[in-house]
């Protein structure tokens, strides 16, 4: 199969050639995704092998009996399944949250404050003459990003690497920094101050800026401001370096304000480097079905959004849920200890193709087909561009969609609505 779609990172490369076993054009992390890995063999209820139907029925009972079930994961499945997940959360009066809440949720919060002046990856490819990577490291996290979209790629108007001024700003010299025309090393926790300083310089208020901000001299800051403002079309990519350090959403809000300022002089767009291949879909689907992207509570029969309370981590740490459905994710491996402790105390249902740490504390385990290899559906790339991932081979596993469809039917039946 030619032009298959890779389901690993937010790049969602759509030029993979798959021969049934391995794929060509894959980066090392994409290769790992396509490589055969250990699977969950069969549906299980407390260690006992059961049919799909029985596992799903048991799961529905657990969820319906809960006072506030948490439905978490979603970034690594298709929109069709996510939509059922949101409806399921609504019907259960539970909480819908997705992986974004532990990675790029601050970007959503910044968008709520200021909006995001953004664009598609094709804009970087075709038009950008200044490309900035701020607190992100695509060479390691999104390996094909530089060659497909942002650095070496040949675009319509910007013809290649030599026509792009590439700037990397980070707290350490990352692999991506070696691609850069200029590298600026910033003191950890000082992105916010540096954005304000750049805004002050560009707005003509140099005197408000001290001789050094965030480990960068005023001279260097002025030089950076100059490069930015002299670009004809600039793209700033940012990553977890901003969303996961001191300031979080405020960092992103401030870089948005910087980009707003730059657009008063030239053209700039801003693009978060999203992680999972469909983390964008997990937010978009929830927004059209329920009005918000993540941290959504349905306990009152309608959606409410409160990131300080209804994210999976907060719900667990605050002991504010009494059952959990985890879909295509491994919170037991990635969440803080306090949160995992609560997860171990409550009934957990897992839907996933592969066994992981969460499987060890799950009461009901339901294996699913591999999205993009054994199951099809729609996913959204990091810039929101939708792509249809394909079914490349047959399987006996049920897809996330099929599992959730039956689960939703059972829940509606049990609730008598």
């Amino acid at each position: 199969m030619r032009n298959a779609v890779c389901t690993f990172c937010g790049n969602v490369c759509d030029d993979i050639e798959f021969d049934g076993v391995t794929g060509k054009n894959l980066c090392p992390i994409g290769e790992a995704k396509f490589a055969a890995k250990r699977r969950i063999e069969a549906p299980m209820v407390r260690g006992r092998r059961v049919s799909y139907e029985e596992a799903i029925e048991k799961a529905a009972e657990v969820l319906v009996n809960a006072k506030r079930p948490l439905l978490y994961g979603w970034a690594s499945t298709v929109n069709e399944a996510i939509r059922l997940g949101v409806i399921l959360a609504e019907k259960l009066g539970g909480v819908y949250d997705q992986c974004s809440s532990v990675c790029h949720a601050p970007s959503t919060l910044a968008m709520i404050e200021e909006g995001i002046p953004g664009g598609t990856l094709g804009q970087a490819k075709n038009r950008a003459d200044v490309v900035v990577f701020w607190g992100c490291n695509p060479v390691e996290a999104h390996p094909r990003h530089p060659s497909r979209y942002s650095v070496m790629t040949k675009g319509f108007l910007t013809k290649g690497r030599q026509h792009r001024h590439v700037i990397v700003v980070d707290v350490r010299k990352t692999a991506t920094a070696y691609l850069a025309t200029e590298f600026y090393q910033i003191k950890p926790g000082y992105d916010y101050a540096v954005f304000t300083a750049l805004r002050s310089i560009i707005n003509g208020h140099e005197k408000a800026v001290p001789e050094e901000v965030g480990g960068i001299s005023k001279k260097k800051l002025k030089e950076l401001a100059d490069i930015l403002i002299n670009g004809k079309y600039g793209v700033i990519f940012y990553g977890l370096g901003l969303t996961h350090s001191r300031g979080q959403d405020r960092n992103v809000e401030n870089i948005v304000k910087l980009v707003q300022t730059l657009n008063r002089h030239t053209r700039y767009i801003l693009q978060p480097m999203r992680g999972h291949f469909n983390v964008v879909g997990a937010g978009e689907v929830a927004a059209w079905e329920a009005g918000y992207e993540y941290a959504i509570d349905f306990s009152r029969g309608y959606s409410r959004f409160l990131p300080s309370e209804f994210t999976a981590v907060e719900v667990l740490v605050r002991r504010d849920c009494d059952a959990a459905l985890i879909v295509a994710s491994d919170p037991a491996a990635h969440f803080p200890k306090e949160a995992v402790k609560r997860l171990a105390e409550i009934p957990v249902i897992q839907i996933d193709p592969h066994p992981n740490v969460t499987t060890l504390l799950a009461d009901i385990v339901i294996p699913s087909a591999l999205v993009g290899i054994e199951a099809e559906g729609t996913v959204y790339r990091m810039d929101g561009i939708p792509l249809r991932v394909k079914k490349l081979k047959d399987t006996g596993y049920w897809s996330d969609y099929e599992i959730l469809k039956l689960m939703l039917d059972k829940v509606i039946q049990l609730k008598g609505e």
Binding site: T196, A208, V209, N254, K257, R300, D320
Partner: protein, 235 residues
Amino acid sequence: MLVIRPRSDFEVNVEAEITPELATKPVEEIRRFRVYYGNRLVPLEELFDLEKKGDEEVLILEGDFSRVKWVGMGMQSGEIIVKGNIGAHCGAFMKGGKIVIEGNADDWLGAEMEGGEIIVKGNTRHLVACPYWGDLEGMKGGKITIEGNAGNYIGEKMCGGEIEIKGNAGDFIGTEMKDGRIVIHGSCGYVGGDMKGGEILIGGSFELVPAFVKMEDGFVGDVNVGGQGKVKVLK
């Protein structure tokens, strides 16, 4: 006066939009007052022991209320005395009256408060007196006093009133503040980002964002929004 005590530890958190006015109601009505317990609406008496002592507009919360949210939401008058800790959103949208918290407070204390007074003897977490996501104005009036320390995001988009923190505070004090006054006796992190007006006084150390100009009696900014906000050293 109404004394409320949790009957036992809760399985999930409770959302109880109770105000002192409840204490003036007949006992039957108080017992039947509905609160959210996860996705169920239950009568107050199912989760709490209730003891009514006269018609005075006073609520006394005894025991652990750290998992009880929205206490005093929108209250207009009367008094709430919290003997221990209190959950999130305490005093949100408050218009009048008084809340005294003898322990600690969770997030969103006095969010979008318009009037009245809140006193916290212990510490508070984040987002004191802030606007909820999407709203353009934070605290508009009234006074919040925190004897201990406070977390991040204090007085964002504040338009009036006063916040006094006797201890230290975290990052992002008075971001996009328009009016009002924040006093921090101890130290704090970033101060004054996109501040348009109002006054912040700080006793300890702090990190002013690089958008303020030094004047005789302090700093004025944020220059990027043409702000006239004042950040001064507390004497």
